[in-house]
Amino acid sequence: MGRSVHIRRAIALCCAVLVLPLLSVTMLEGTAGAAPTAPPRYISRYMTTASGSTLYNYGCAQGTFDLNRAGTQHSTVVLDFGAVYYSSTRGTYMATLFGGTDQPLSTVREGVKQYGRGYWICTGGDLSSTTEVGMGTNNSAGSVTYSAGAFFANRVDEVGSYYATIAQVSAAGANDIELGWSGPTAARNWVNGYGSANNYRMFNYGDAAGCPTDHIPSSTECGTAAHPEWGAEDVWYVSWGALPAWPVPEIYTTSGSQARQWKYLSLYGYTHHGSSMNFVASLTQYYACLQVGGCSGTNNTPAQGWSQLWDQLNSDSRSADTSFHSTDIRYS
């Protein structure tokens, strides 16, 4: 009799030990409520000029926006100066400015300094609001190399050193890494080069084309017709796995497919590397779509993009992230 009680107790104890982890795994999913109200969207830009006065005006406009809002604001913006290439005739790296006159990165650096200066000055009596300004390039052409990444990081460092003499502004590097533009080797090399020289973090504000929308990917899933060699491991690395990398993902699709891709990439990081992603901001292109006369299925409003990402990330406690910003890109 005593023995059978002992056995039953042992069985009950063991069952409890077995069931508890299962319960906790079950509770990982579906714990979040509805997304809260989206934060204000901040303006990111495709740049066709590196003019200091133009960039000052853009920064001032953002500073004025924050000054006129109640309370303290924190924001993320990207200034996209196009591809970067090495000019042997100039002996330096140049930004293409999307059709504008190519400019040395030293000129771009001076323009980005002016953006921050404009923000700082035009926030006026608001001494608390802050913005993080990403000096952006992409992997579509030019020098997507280790050396270019290191050179770019040095220019961002110089912007950051200047920002430290004023206030309320911090610098970041940024790269629109899209899986249809280059293979992963080039993109990884650029990120590694950036990481060899950086004092400031780097945003990947690209896409996750071809990554699954309904399950945690294997390390080799993702990629495009042009570059099928991309895998989830690569996207994770250039977005989060590399020390300076932080995701500002494109959440353009109204179907929510891109938000789902990034949720599963974050879960990929959790399950394969013990670290889900922390997101800096969601990126939409609502205003750019208005400018070109409409985009079919890729024109999430900033609030829609932010909420889609919030809902997806917070539908699983392993990828939960509630504190990211919203930025919307446009043509200058």
């Binding site: 133009t54 000052y56 293409t96 059709g99 309320q168 502004v169 070109v292 200058s332």
Partner: protein, 182 residues
Amino acid sequence: MATRTRTDAHTRRLLVILAVATVLAGATVLAAVAASGGDTAFQAEKARQQNAAEHPAAGQLPKPDPALSRPAEQPEPPWPAGIFQDREAPMPASQFQAVNRWQGEVGNRRLAVYAGYQGTDPTRGLLLIFSYNDKSIDAQAKLIERPGDGVLRILSADGQVLTIGSDSGRQYRYDAATGQLS
């Protein structure tokens, strides 16, 4: 006696199985905890970066008067002109893949006409057109689609009139001054 021995053996087997299961479950929990913590040095560096971004260093300079602080305007460099065989365009790769572009000035506007195709469907030819003011800002944009024509490319330019060919063998004229494709 034999029955009792069988019962003991059965009990012992049951307990061994449960013990193994318990150890496995414990290991699972430990692995999950370790995974959620991740690499400590990695997490610490990420936290440092986030903190630095959210708390920018503050210099000692007083804020200048905005009215007196705007940098002097410099004239924009000349707008590049001609046909350029590069594939970069200010649009996501999934939406637009450029083949080449034409640039020139029409009146007081700076124009760029990109030819290419829809990023995930090469049968859908696209033209992406931008116009800017003399400061290379104040963008106006337009997207023209030619479904079923395949990839579009700019073949030549005669002043502001572009000849555009498609993979399907059709040719178009795009008048950059009027914005008409015919």
